[in-house]
């Protein structure tokens, strides 16, 4: 075997090693699509299992003034409970996603609107803004691991 061939082999491996082979544009498209699909499904508020499936098994939700919701069981109850609130609905829109260089972790900002009926049956809308943190699972799917928001300044 010639030295030049060895040099080539080493070069090819080194290049493959150095570049992370992560297409962050593609990951961005994937995660934003996942998030917008999730938002649409949550808005429909029909399929609890489907809604819950977008969180990881160890996800934490911190809603203002509410106890921390940790893990699938608690998240399922969290969604079930929200469906009992008269007139409840939620929508959100996310933006500004940032990835770890290896494309395995990400965070994005989001704005949400929660609607419910007040005691007189009148629609009441509560705005929120916050962050979600995401992890790329072994199966290639992005799951939300942290979901936290708070109230914007009073209008």
């Amino acid at each position: 075997m010639k030295l030049s061939l060895l040099v080539l082999v080493v070069f090819v491996i080194a290049v493959g090693c150095n570049q992370s082979n992560v297409d962050l544009k593609a990951e961005e498209a994937a995660i934003m699509k996942t998030d917008s699909t999730w938002s649409a499904i949550a808005k429909e508020s029909k399929d609890v299992e489907k809604i819950v499936s977008y969180w990881s098994d160890d996800a934490v939700v911190l809603a203002p003034g509410q106890p921390a919701v940790k893990g699938k069981e608690a998240l399922r109850k969290f969604i079930e409970d929200s469906r009992q609130i008269p007139g409840f609905s939620i929508t959100w829109k996310s933006s500004d996603v940032h990835f770890s260089p290896d494309g395995k972790m990400a965070y994005m900002s989001g704005e949400n609107l929660m609607t419910m009926d007040d005691s007189t049956g009148k629609k009441m809308t509560i705005p929120g803004r916050g962050y979600t943190i995401w992890r790329k699972e072994a199966d290639g799917n992005w799951k939300c691991v942290v979901d936290i928001w708070n109230n914007p300044p009073a209008q």
Copy 2:
């Protein structure tokens, strides 16, 4: 050059390539130390530049009911303003850090206590809980890129 040597070279490079060479235990120690030092410096509330230096240049702070604070200039003003609040002090404690596999991004949960004087001069303490997101910069230092909290359930 013998084939066996080539195989060895390729093997060594491939091993070096596959293992990420990230010591997450060491990163955890580093980031927790950074955070606890930051908390101590913030509690002292003497050196604004030092306090602000723990955030990245593009950091975002979302405090409940406050406008988003984005970037160093706004963060400097945010800290300066907080120092004008009679009796103001803040402390926090973080835990449960999670890293991206490449050890370049992390998030951790935290609990904070803000103290200030109410209108009668009496100390008032406001608890918060939330998340910080961190990025390992090119110089090897961890910087906080997102800082968000909200209010826990009323006691």
